[in-house]
Structure formats: C-alpha cells, structure tokens
Amino acid sequence: MLITSALISGLGLGSMYGLLALGFYITYSVSSTVNFAQGSSMMLGAVLAYTFAVTLGWPFLPAALLALALCAVYGMLVEIVAVRPFARRGSNAWLMATVALGIIADNVVLFTFGKEPRGFTMPWATGSFQLFGIGVSPLQLAIPALGLSLAGALHLFSRRTRLGKALLAVVQNADAARLMGINVPLAILLAYAASTMFAGAAGIMIAPLFNVHSDMGTLFGLKAFAVAILGGITSAWGVMIAGLLFGITEALITALLGSAYTQVLSFALVIVVLAFMPNGLFGRAEVKKV
C-alpha cells in the first residue's frame, strides 16, 4: 500500500513538474532562452481562473480558457520586455530580467488578488475513488494524462508540422531561417506564449488540490527547472518523463525513508545524475561547429 500510494502521489506531482518544465523546453528549443519565473506564470493561471470562475461566477470552461489566453499574453510580454532587448544584444541579462518580472507579477497579484490563500474547489475535482485499495482524486490521474498528451502533441507538432519544423529551424540557425522567410521574432514570441500557457494550465490543474495564492508557484518553478535540466532541456518527452521520475522519487523517498530525507535525497540524486550525464537523462550534447 505504501509503494502504490507513493506512486500515485508521485505521478500527480511529477506531471505538474513536467508540465512546467515543458514550458522551459519550448522556449529553449526556439531561442535558447527561458523564463526563469515560470512559477509566476503558473500562479497567474490559477489566480485568473479563480477570479473568473469563483469571484465572477463564470462556468469553469470559459474561465479556464480566458485565463489561459491571458497567460499567453503575459508570456508575450515576458518575451518583449524581459528577453528580447537583452538577447538581441547577446547579453544574458534576460536571466535576471525574467526573475524580476516574475517578482513584479507575484507582487501585483498580492496587492490585487489579496493576501490570503483561497480554496479553489471545483465540483468535478472533489472526492476520491479507490484504485488498488488506495484513495485517488480524479485530478491525480487527469494531470499525468494531460501532461503526457501535451508532451506527445508537442513532439508531433515539432516533427510533423511545417510550423513545428520552422520553429526548430530557428534554433538551429536563426539567420538561415530568416533567409528562408521564417519570421524569427514571431516564432520566439509564440514559443513564449505557449510556454506560459503550459504553466497556466498546470496552475489551473493543481489549484483544486492545493490553494491559490500569490507565491504558490515559487517552489514549483524551482523544481520544474531542476526537472528540465534533469530531462535534458532539448527533449519534450525527456522533460516530461524526468518530471514524473522526480515526482515519484520524492514520494518514494518520503514513503520509504521518511519526509526528513525527501528534499536532501531528491536534489542530491539530481546532482549525481547530472555528474554522470551532464546533458540530462534524455538530452543530447550540443555540437558547436567552429
């Protein structure tokens, strides 16, 4: 029972890490940059969905869709304000700029949404059922299903569609892509929009299991970045599977050894893996031609 319960808990949590980490994958694949404040994007999705669905009383689906659309707009804002001006000059200052924008977003939400955490209870997300003798919330299964579907869709999109291939071309050689008629700035902008939407979706999914508040994404964002690096940030499947592995490892350590060891051992394992596999579990070494 201990192991089964840990596996189910780990799958749910791991999928959240994976979903957030997919956001890192998308922008890194297209522009070699990431939004370090991905946790804030996750928080924004949850807060906006809560505002529309609970405060304004809208039905859940339109509330969630509008929240995701606004997350996409926020993603574009991140790219335009905190990434593009620096990346264009070859500066790495976007690292700090994205963190700063995330802190601003957290604080704006703190002052507008309020100081207290709120419970986001959706009728379809409450209750639990028995699976292998373990109580499971429907969301704990829905989250991995959504995460794996999105990773699969991303994989197919980048390998099978014209736009996906164009996006891959941008990262391989931006100048050549531009000469081939690909609108590189637009491609990067769309990548950021998609990245933030993924994070927003993660926030909306986790909210009924957790609660909604302005700093709910901070720890998730940190763990998701560790997961992105662990998976090898250049592989959608790798990132998602690394998320699941990280979540399951955390839950298993807690279940078998006790919670005192969870953070220490799970992050120590990340370091050990990266020491032996510097490009992550599923990443490939970048070839630089000189």
Partner: protein, 394 residues
C-alpha cells in the same frame, strides 16, 4: 551689571512660558506600541486579528486618558511576511527608529525566535500574543525581556495528549508536523508529554509548508497503526493535511495546535474541516464575562465586518492581543517611565487584573513569563467558517 542681570532674568522669564508648552507637548506625545506580524500571505488574517485586539485595547485605554499622566498609545505596525529576516529588519526599525516603548510579535514562532536576541540585547520588552514556541519565553537569557499572553507549546502539547486520550480514547497517536522551528518545538513537547506517561508516538512525520500532497507521510503513520494524529501547522499546510486525509479516505481523530485558526480553514480544507479539533485560548461564543461583552461591543462598533462573535476570527489573536496590551499598560504605569528595564520590572509588579481570557493574578514573575496556562485552553472546531467550542453545534 544690574541691568544686564535684570535683562537675563527677564529674558529667562519670557522664555519660560514658551518652554513650558514644549514640556507639556512632550508629556502628551503618544507612547508608541510596535507590532511585527504577518500582514500578508497565508497568516494575514491572524495579523489582522492581533491588530484589532491591540487597537481595541488602545482605544479603550486612550478613552480613559492613557497612562503616565495623560500620555496616549499609538500602534505602529510592520509586515514580517512570516519571514524571520524581514521580521528582524522590522523589529530593528520599530525599536531604534520609531522608538516604540514595547514591541508585540505575531503568529510565527521562527520570526519571534529571531527577534528574541535583539530585544534582550536592547533591553526592550517584547510581548508575544500568538507564537507559542516554548523557547520564545524560555530563551535562556540572563535578563529576559520576553513576555507572552498566549499558549505555550510544551503546555499545549500536554493538553493535546490529554484531550486525545480523554475524548477519543486514543492509545497510539502519530505526529504530522510542519518542517520548521515551530514543528520542532512541538516535537520536543509532544515527546516529553508522551514520555511522562510512558508512551511513544506511532511515528513522527514532517511536511513542508508548500507541500501539495501529504499522502506519503500520512500513509506511513497509518501503516504504523496510528489511531489519532497530532497536527501542527499553520492554516494552509493544515488544510493540505486534511485534503490528503480526504483523498486517502482515512478519518482518524485529528488533535491540532491552533494553526487552523489563522485563516479561511473551512474554505481551504473543504468539508472535512470540522474533523480537526484545535486549541484556543478564548471563544466569543457562549456566555461572556462583562469584559467579553465590552470587547465584542467595541469590535462591532469599530469594524463594520464584525456583526457577531462568528466574525471575530481568529478570536485567539484578538483576545491574546487585547489582554497583552492591557497588561502592558499596567506594566508601563507600574514602571512610571518609558524605560525598558523599568517596564520589565513593571510586568512583575502587576497584581490582579480582570482580563478577557481570565482574571489574572500576578501573571508574571522572574521565573514565569507566560500569563496563560493549560487551565485557560478551550477546544474548538470549524463549523461553517466559524470557530466554535467543540460540540456546541453539530
């Protein structure tokens, strides 16, 4: 020469009336009372409750003419965001820049523990109206400037064990504790309480304040045969424990420290919120003493959102802060001046006082800096967003 002396005397005489209002104005300067607490984040509601308790007491004291010959009180607040580093900065600002006479603390034990060395070194009184960590008042300082009108972990822990045994006939309780100094303080206290009765816990599990899923920890406790849970965590983390229990379909008795009282526990924890029985020092429900009626009336008059006892949440923050401020006014009056060591002695010289929580009789001494004890605790639960004494409403 005479003319010169006469001139100086006349000049002094002319200047004296001008100087007098200055002295008088000084006498009328308000006495600043500092408050460092969480005014934002998960514990914001607790910070607001402490504020309200202090403010209602200050209004009452000021209406009676203040202390030390007419000096009135003024509350100065700073947000510690439940973070020790920010609490330390705020405490230093209030002590050394705002020159508060007495500093009040907030909900979080880690923040209060970080402030304790500063106040002891500065020889400035620090009153805890909420944080229950045993080491806050029992801090080992030769000259201890920390007083508390609140529960104390080691006493609460004994009360938690006694309540679990008496109410639920529990024989093998497990601990689920938040992973911070407050959790550690309670681990020690619960181990001591169990040890004193020759018992051991079914298990000790920790969880992080931001944990979404506590099922693995709870499953370990269930597997170890726990027949009740001792819960220690603030409102958000406590809610996560209840949600995890819900998912597991496990409904053991949950005997908790007072963390759930700090916010919207029913909204966060869902329909199983009433399963958590937690300790409080006061409830505005039921028959009130004259002091209770007076305070409730003052709260309803000052704060439009308070329509009745159910809106005074968390009551413990209001009640502890109210009594803490009243006892502080007595200490300052006893001291006769705004001097840290004198006020400290002033606390020791408080005799009897009809307070909100109880009638105090020599609440502080050189060996006891805690005014509230196990005889003052009330066991409560959340029913429909209200903190009610257990069993008052099903």
């Amino acid at each position: 020469m005479l003319a010169r002396r006469t001139f100086i005397a006349l000049a002094l005489a002319a200047a004296l009336p001008a100087a007098l209002p200055v002295t008088s104005a000084y006498a009328q300067q308000p006495i600043k009372i500092g408050l460092v607490t969480a005014l934002s984040g998960q514990s914001a509601r607790a910070g607001e409750a402490i504020t309200r308790g202090l403010q209602v007491a200050i209004d009452e004291l000021n209406a009676k003419g203040g202390v030390l010959g007419g000096r009135k009180f003024e509350l100065v607040r700073r947000d510690d965001e439940a973070t020790p580093a920010k609490g330390v900065i705020a405490a230093r600002e209030l002590l050394f820049k705002e020159k508060v006479a007495v500093l009040f603390g907030g909900l979080d034990t880690p923040v209060s523990l970080a402030i304790v060395p500063i106040v002891n070194e500065a020889k400035m009184p620090f009153v805890g109206p909420w944080a229950a960590g045993t080491g806050i008042t029992k801090n080992g300082a030769k000259e201890n400037y920390v007083f508390r009108v609140s529960a104390v972990d080691e006493i609460v822990n004994k009360a938690m064990l006694a309540y679990a045994q008496k109410t639920f006939n529990s024989k093998n309780c497990g601990m689920i504790l938040v992973n911070n100094p407050w959790g550690e303080s309670n681990e020690k206290g619960l181990m001591a309480a169990l040890g004193a009765k020759g018992l051991k816990p079914a298990g000790i599990e920790k969880f992080e304040g931001n944990d979404v899923d506590v099922v693995p920890q709870l499953t370990r406790l269930k597997s170890a045969g726990a027949d009740c849970l001792f819960l220690v965590g603030n409102v958000g983390p406590s809610a996560q424990v209840v949600k995890s229990l819900d998912r597991m379909g496990w409904k053991p008795p949950v005997v908790s420290h007072w963390g759930p009282a700090g916010g919207r526990f029913t909204e966060l924890a869902g329909p199983s919120a009433p399963m958590v029985h937690f300790v409080q020092t006061y409830s505005f429900f039921g028959k009130q003493t004259p002091v209770g009626e007076k305070v409730l009336k003052a709260l309803m008059a000052k704060y439009p959102d308070i329509k009745g006892p159910g809106d005074v949440t968390p009551a413990v923050g209001v009640a502890n802060a109210y009594d803490g401020m009243m006892l502080t006014a007595l200490a300052i009056q006893n001291a006769g001046k705004l001097d840290g060591p004198a006020i400290r002695e002033g606390y020791y010289r408080i005799g009897s006082h009809a307070g909100l929580i109880k009638n105090y009789d020599k609440p502080f001494s050189a060996t006891n800096h805690d005014a509230v004890n196990e005889n003052d605790y009330v066991w409560t639960q959340f029913i429909d967003h209200q903190i009610l004494p257990v069993g008052m409403k099903k």
